[in-house]
């Protein structure tokens, strides 16, 4: 691969940002992966340092130990796009030897479509050790890695069959973006989000929608990811001009808000249009509250619950809206995890060569969750919830479940 080969529009911008690095090492001290394995040379090394030694050809394959959690970019006080540089270098590195596994696990819609009709069978299979061992050997997906639970009904299946909402809309229309997981696996979270929005008086449109391409992007499949994200923009824009888009799929929201642009350099106007209109579910509620428009007639819930803010939510630069909204519920004590990352980072912790690292990264979080409440934890993003639930044994829900309950909807 020469410099004439793979060129990303976003790369020139990210590369220019390396000029801001003063070698302060703050990113290195915050990196959850470098803290647990010497195999990863750390964000300062693979980002602003190694980038000066790159000219198209990929020689530092250990950069793939980066989980793309984005913590480095978030903590850099100088504005270096460390994670973005690394994601771009990884795409160059993998461009001539993309593992089948990475192509497969990044096709999230396909997985959902394949598993839903045979949900009980798929779920059973995913818990059968010999099957998982074969999967690990053949595809490199670790036998103990968390897997989504397939549902017998998709979100769109539910939408088709459910009775019309009882309350007439009083606040206008919003578009709901559910993401692949929210369509096939985390159907309950999508349902509860829609019900809360309807409870607040919104008419909710759920257009037919595809994948945002995040998993493809984090696996270095930039062309496919770009095609996916632009198709999704078309899908979401088809619901109506200028409407606010709300999503309970936190990482996919990040992809639309900034990652597709900053990592892959997508400058398409359709993406810009969606990026400025999309809100994370809890961010949307927090903004309503700040505007004095959120009803706070919550039922008390006497409980102490651990909350983990996912990396991909933190990197959206919107604070921790879930914490702000949850704290409006009487009786509820929300304890922030204080942990950097759960380790899964999308598909990273599924891979057999990364599994142990991902577990080590998440260990302080798993311990904290267990100690805080062995029965329930809250977290905004799907794969993080699966990781926390699988590794700590504590059932983990999206914060909207708690809001849903507090509004008396469940």
């Amino acid at each position: 691969m020469t410099s004439d080969g793979l060129e990303f529009a976003g790369h020139q911008f990210a590369r220019a940002s390396l000029d801001h690095c003063v070698k302060c090492t703050i990113c290195e001290t915050a990196c959850p992966v470098a803290a647990v394995t010497p195999l990863f040379t750390g964000p300062k090394f693979v980002g602003p340092q190694a980038e000066r030694f790159r000219n198209g050809e990929s020689v530092d394959h250990s950069l793939d130990y980066c989980s793309s959690c984005g913590t480095c970019t978030l903590v850099c006080p100088q504005g270096v796009q460390i994670a973005e540089l690394n994601s771009q270098a990884r795409a160059v590195m993998k461009s001539d030897h993309m593992p089948v596994r990475d192509q497969l696990i990044s096709r999230t819609t396909l997985m959902g479509m394949a598993m839903t009709p045979v949900a009980p069978l798929a779920n059973a299979a995913l818990h059968v050790k010999p099957i998982r061992t074969v999967v690990e050997k053949v595809f490199g997906i670790h036998r103990d890695a968390p897997m989504p639970t397939a549902r017998t009904q998709t979100l769109h299946g539910w939408l088709k069959k459910r009775p019309a909402p009882k309350k007439a809309p009083t606040r206008g229309t919003v578009v709901f973006f559910h993401g692949c997981a929210g369509g096939y696996f985390e159907v309950e979270t999508s349902k509860k989000s829609i019900e809360v929005l309807e409870h607040l008086g919104y008419r909710v449109i759920v257009p037919k929608q595809g994948c945002c391409g995040l998993a493809q992007q984090s696996n270095g499949l930039f062309d496919a990811a770009t095609a996916s994200v632009l198709q999704l923009c078309d899908d979401l824009r088809s619901a109506g001009k200028g409407l606010t888009i709300v999503s309970s799929s936190g990482s996919c929201t990040g992809m639309l808000k900034h990652e597709a642009h900053e990592i892959m350099g997508v400058t398409d106007d359709r993406l810009k249009d969606v990026a400025v209109r999309i809100r994370d579910m809890m961010e949307f509620l927090r903004d309503l509250h700040e505007a004095g428009e959120l009803p706070t007639d919550f039922r008390p819930i006497e409980m102490t619950v651990p909350y983990h803010a996912p990396c991909q939510l933190k990197s959206q630069g919107m604070g921790q809206p879930a914490v702000e909204v949850l704290r409006l519920i009487p009786g509820l004590t929300v304890v922030e995890s204080g942990a950097t990352c759960c380790g899964i980072a999308g598909t990273y912790g599924l891979k057999k060569e990364k599994y142990e690292i991902a577990q080590a990264v998440g260990k302080p979080l798993f311990d904290m969750v267990k100690a805080t409440n062995p029965d329930l934890a809250l977290c905004d993003t799907e794969t993080c919830r699966w990781q926390i639930a699988q590794s700590s044994g504590v059932p983990t829900e999206h914060p909207i479940w708690m809001i849903h309950r507090a509004y008396g909807l469940s």
Binding site: D19, A50, F53, S62
Partner: protein, 542 residues
């Protein structure tokens, strides 16, 4: 280090000791010319010693862009130099591959430049046998996305970049293998003559203070901008060397991966060269009196940044890491006005002191450029052989230099690849330039009396964006740990290193580099109180 000739100590007149050597030829000056000359002399079977008052390549040689000319720069202005460059470029890439990166280069017509110059250029390239091919602007912009999208024409040439220190050290190591002796930090104090014949050279070992007397039959003066001073030590009529000062600025990363030249008659700030991890813009050309006192004037820095902006829009927003000045070693030529040093003879000039001063056994060489250093050496050694009435053929173009046996040219990914392999076994001392602990301790063992700048020239220690802010502390600790020096000298060496880095930082303190220097300053002044470290009795200068 193998020794050439006799090496003995004899009492001198005032009770100390004088180290005595005897060789056929003394080469004065350890720049590219001197290193090439000592290699050639040794390969032709003469016993020889090279003297430099400082480190190899510390004077003019490495104070340059890092450009290995394709010859393109001279196809219109200096056709002979163009052909020489093209030929030597091919030879050096063959014999000194590890010091050279085959980046390729473009000559581009910037907005406002005369597009017709490119036609003269192409005609000149054809006439001088310099490979050149016009490509579409689109192709150039695709390969170099930061290039000014307003360029009108682009011509592809075989420019490369070269590490001047590695080039010189490579030649020196080859010379050592052929029996030569290299004495750095040996300052010539006198060229001794017996009536009209050179008989020896007297010098002083600056690191030990020891005097050295070298008997010889011939002296080759390769001292570049200092050639006049050396000739004067043989009581010759002054040789008029006009040092032409040029400044250069290294930018923090490779803004381009090919050499970018303006396709115009040679002018200030017309070249941007990717060398190692940086890209270097240059240069200016101002006649100066003293090659030991080269300023980096503010207005020239601004001129270079403006010139960079023409090639790469947004250049001023990019981070500059270091600036320096070098002196061209031009020998006065009556054909051009003395104030215009750029257009003086870039070809080489050999001054024959027999005809000029009635002194046998001394030749002075001037002019030339790094790309043609091997050819210059061939010429001056040929001239010496003629004077000695001997026929000894030059083989320097045929023998590969130590370290380049594989024939593999340098690529910028080399160190990243090396660190990928030893990342779990070794520490990194200089993070910016990815220099490992082993690289440093090995070089230190080879040069236990070396300053950190001596080691820097071999290892690129402290040459990245932090400019020694982090690595100099680690280097100091390692040097102390290696037991070569005491704590006073260790802190003295660190302060000297930082002082020298600062010379190149002051002129470019703007933008991102200000933040770095502020942080470095807090570390050294605020946290470490560097001014009150254990002081050596005498300030460490070497």
């Amino acid at each position: 280090m193998p020794r050439a000739g006799k090496d003995a100590r004899v009492p001198d007149k005032i009770g100390g000791f004088v180290r005595k050597l005897a060789v056929d030829v003394v080469v004065v000056g350890g720049g590219s010319t001197g290193a090439g000359v000592v290699r050639d002399v040794a390969m032709r079977g003469y016993s020889t010693v090279l003297l430099d008052r400082a480190d190899l390549g510390q004077g003019t040689t490495a104070r340059f862009h890092g450009l290995l000319h394709s010859g393109g720069r001279y196809v219109v202005s200096d056709p002979l130099s163009a052909t020489e460059c093209a030929d030597e470029n091919a030879i050096l890439t063959r014999i000194q591959a590890s010091a050279i990166e085959r980046t390729g280069g473009y000559f581009v017509t910037a907005p406002g430049d005369d597009p017709a110059f490119a036609d003269k250029f192409l005609a000149g390239a054809a006439a001088t046998r310099v490979p050149a091919r016009e490509i579409s602007v689109g192709e150039a912009l695709k390969a170099e996305p930061r290039l000014n999208p307003g360029i009108l024409r682009a011509i592809e040439v075989q420019d490369g970049s070269v590490d001047g220190w590695q080039l010189v050290w490579g030649a020196a190591r080859s010379a050592i293998n052929h029996g030569a002796q290299i004495l750095t930090y040996h300052k010539v104090t006198k060229i001794e003559r017996d009536a009209n014949r050179v008989t020896g050279v007297r010098c002083v070992d600056l690191k030990t203070g020891e005097e050295v007397q070298i008997d010889c039959g011939f002296v080759l003066n390769c001292a570049g901008p200092w050639a006049g001073q050396i000739a004067a030590m043989a009581d010759c009529e002054p040789v008029d060397v006009i040092p032409g000062r040029g400044i250069m600025i290294a930018m923090n990363h490779r803004l381009v991966n090919r050499v970018i030249n303006r396709c115009i008659y040679p002018a200030d700030g017309d070249i941007l060269v990717p060398v190692h991890t940086v890209s270097i813009i240059g240069t200016t050309d101002v006649k100066v009196e003293d090659p030991d006192n080269l300023a980096i004037p503010h207005e020239e820095v601004q001129e270079m940044l403006d010139a960079g902006e023409i090639l790469i829009p947004g250049f001023r927003q990019a981070r500059a890491v270091h600036a320096w000045a070098g002196a061209r070693p031009l020998i006065k030529d009556s054909r051009v006005a003395a104030a215009d040093t750029r257009h003086m003879s870039r070809g080489m000039a050999v001054i024959d002191h027999t005809t000029r001063d009635g002194l046998d056994g001394l030749l002075t060489i001037g002019g030339g450029k790094l790309t043609t250093y091997r050819l210059m050496a061939e010429h001056i050694v040929d001239a010496m052989c003629t004077k000695l009435g001997e026929k000894r053929a030059c083989h320097t173009a045929d023998e590969v230099i130590p370290g380049s046996e594989s024939g593999k040219t340098y690529v910028v990914t080399h160190r990243l690849e090396a660190r990928e392999h030893d990342r779990t076994e070794d520490q990194i001392i200089c993070e910016c330039e990815l220099m490992s602990r082993k690289m440093f301790t090995d070089a230190l063992a080879e040069q236990p009396r070396g300053s950190f700048d001596d080691l820097r020239r071999q290892l690129r220690l402290g040459m990245g964006p932090c400019q020694g802010g982090f690595c100099s502390l680690r280097a100091t600790a390692l040097a102390l740990e290696a037991d070569h020096i005491d704590v006073e000298r260790a802190s003295g060496l660190m302060k000297l290193f930082l002082k020298n880095r600062w010379i190149g930082l002051w002129p470019i303190l703007y933008g991102d580099q200000v933040r770095q220097t502020a942080l470095d300053n807090w570390i050294f002044q605020g946290t470490l109180d560097v001014e009150h470290l254990p002081q050596p009795e005498q300030e460490v200068e070497l």
